[in-house]
């Protein structure tokens, strides 16, 4: 966006500031409004699953103003702090969590193409998002420690153990689409899956199919959702790490949690489910691409944004569905699930996907279909057995990398 503004002859510093403000505004709204929506949805979904109506009183038939009412309640609530608490850390902890959750959105693209809808177009976006999401646990630990309450401490410790464990299979699973696409650039990964659901990486081969489910499990665990919500197990630990929190600080934790859910769901949809590309290439079919003009592409991207948000919401809904369906696991079962099942399955799937990719480099949809010919230069970076002549020197690789104009993140800084 900044480049776009600079191209329109606006002062760079103003352009950057404007772009940053717009991005921050959009993302904050996404997380905050998203949280509002999700909390309401959670209640409705749980209600429906338990064969009742859910909130109905506030805001008419669907109770759609319920969360807003909750928000007002939380805002007006007294902000308490335990006596023995470490005041500094206690106050800081919710913001750490929220910041981590929000920063993840910074690198998530909502639409691709020549002018992708992304706040920070990173070359290593996958890594960045996983790393930043991992930071969320830090806020939880600080909260648990600073509360000077054993329930909080227990919750935080469990959370630490759980998240540290689940980051391993999560990372392994996320690497599989990276491997297939040959890049960690999420825009690139998403655009590789354009053209229909058969191009989605979840259907790329049997291993990615397995990987997707493992990824979703681990993502559920790493954002502390049931059945892995040991950190706030209310039946054992009162409310876990946020026992001592109330008011707005408490709601920050919840916004962080729903934000993280949305973030991992969006990541899942970009990595595996085609991102902003629909199951059928309707937008492209209508000619909504940047080749036909900027505003055509922009319209296509808006469509794509709606698409990916829908996918994200579906992902979150599935998490809710799981939460209200499955009982909570014990901590040893949680760790067992991770170390004895998820990690080996992810490792095997990784290996299998590697071999598959090696054996059938240009096939999609379980190897049944030929990949749509795309002139992605990154293909030549990886030693592609089919297209690369045997005597090709690696000299060309750097040139190719230059040519592809994968903007290094420093690009977004200047």
């Amino acid at each position: 966006m900044a480049q776009f503004l600079i191209a329109k002859d606006i002062w760079p510093w103003l352009a950057y500031t404007l772009a940053a403000l717009v991005h921050i505004f959009l993302l904050l709204n996404l997380v905050a409004v998203g949280a509002l929506l999700f909390i309401w949805m959670e209640r409705k979904v749980s209600g429906r699953i338990q064969d009742r109506l859910g909130p109905t009183r506030v805001g008419g038939k669907f109770g759609w103003l319920q969360t807003l009412a909750d928000g007002i309640k939380l805002l007006t609530k007294e902000d308490l702090m335990p006596e023995g608490a470490d005041a500094f850390l206690f106050k800081l902890a919710p913001y750490v969590s929220f910041c981590a959750s929000l920063s993840a959105f910074m690198a998530i693209p909502f639409a691709g193409g020549q002018y992708p809808f992304v706040a920070l177009h990173m070359n290593v976006a996958v890594f960045f998002i996983i790393a930043v999401l991992g930071l969320e646990v830090f806020g939880v630990i600080l909260a648990g420690y600073a509360s000077a309450s054993k329930w909080s401490l227990f919750g935080a410790m469990r959370e630490a153990a759980q998240v540290v464990s689940y980051e391993v299979p999560l990372g392994m699973c996320a690497v599989v689409p990276v491997l297939i696409a040959g890049s960690m650039d999420l825009v690139f990964i998403g655009d590789r899956q354009a053209g229909g659901f058969w191009n989605w990486y979840v259907f790329h081969d049997p291993f990615t199919f397995v990987t997707f489910w493992v990824y979703f499990t681990c993502a559920t665990a790493s954002v502390n959702r049931a059945p892995f919500d040991l950190a706030e197990a209310e039946s054992e630990l009162v409310a876990g790490f946020h026992t001592e929190y109330s008011g707005l600080r408490w709601s920050f934790f919840f916004m962080a949690e729903y934000g993280s859910m949305m973030a991992v769901s969006l990541l899942a949809s970009i990595l595996f489910l085609g991102g902003w590309h629909g199951p059928l290439p309707i937008g492209t079919g209508l000619g909504l691409t940047f080749e036909n003009g900027f505003w055509f592409g922009f319209a296509g991207n808006v469509l794509g944004t709606a698409n990916i948000l829908l996918k994200g919401i579906i992902g979150v809904t599935v998490m809710m569905w799981v939460r209200w369906t499955l009982p909570r696991l014990r901590i040893d079962q949680v760790i067992t699930t991770c170390l004895k099942y998820c990690v080996p399955i992810a490792a095997m799937a990784f290996l299998g996907a590697t071999l598959w990719q090696y054996a059938l480099p240009n096939r999609v949809f379980f190897g049944l279909a030929e990949m749509r010919p795309q002139s992605y230069a990154i293909e030549e970076v990886l030693p592609n057995r089919n297209s690369q002549p045997a005597d090709a020197k690696p000299v060309s690789v750097t040139a190719e990398l230059n040519r592809t104009n994968h903007r290094a993140n420093i690009a977004s800084l200047d």
Partner: protein, 193 residues
């Protein structure tokens, strides 16, 4: 259209300030959990410095491994050993003074070293703007697998496959070793005091 502020420098200053401030806070603080928190902030800011220096992959790795992994482990340790008397342990004033003196000497020395080589000073703005942007993840990965795509003109630049393997094995050994060291002791092993 030129800009009065050179933005990378601005971000450098920002991150450097955060990193240094929190690093000093780590030293000054006596509460172990706060120290860990300051350290995280310092390391995260260092990651930002990496980004500014064009090392995006390493920066992400820094966040992922150091901040996400190492420090969670550290905090874990804090939890396991957290009793009030260990959270903050005071050192004697003499020792602090001594350390401050020595540290100042060391810092001056390093400053002197950093500033004494003219080639280490900045480039001009035009020179930096002329440098093409290059992603680092792929060349790094290739280098770890033994192929240096970043330096094709000098074929004798070494790849790092062996180092990579050694470190992998090392990590495995370390994991096994750590699990062994931290394992629950058998019954009857005497606890001192």
């Amino acid at each position: 259209m030129s800009d009065p502020i050179y933005w990378p420098s601005f971000f450098f200053l920002l991150f450097a300030g955060i990193a240094c401030a929190f690093a000093i806070a780590v030293v000054v603080s006596s509460n172990i959990v706060r120290m860990a928190f300051y350290l995280v902030m310092s390391l995260a800011a260092t990651a930002g410095l990496f980004f500014v220096a064009g090392a995006d992959f390493v920066g992400s790795m820094q966040v992922l491994i150091y901040v996400g992994g190492t420090l969670v482990l550290l905090v874990f340790g804090v939890m396991l050993t957290s009793q009030d008397r260990f959270i903050s342990m005071k050192t004697s004033r003499f020792e602090l003074g001594m350390a401050a003196g020595v540290g100042a000497c060391l810092f001056l020395l390093l400053l002197f070293a950093a500033w004494s080589v003219p080639e280490w000073r900045s480039l001009s703005r035009e020179q930096v703007d002329a440098i093409a942007l290059e992603p680092t993840a792929t060349p790094l990965g290739m280098a770890l697998l033994g192929a240096r795509v970043d330096a094709p003109e000098s074929p004798d630049v070494a790849g790092y496959l062996l180092v990579f393997e050694i470190i992998s094995v090392h990590l495995l050994v370390v994991l096994v070793g750590a699990a062994y060291l931290a394992r629950a002791k058998r019954k009857g092993s005497a606890i001192a005091e």
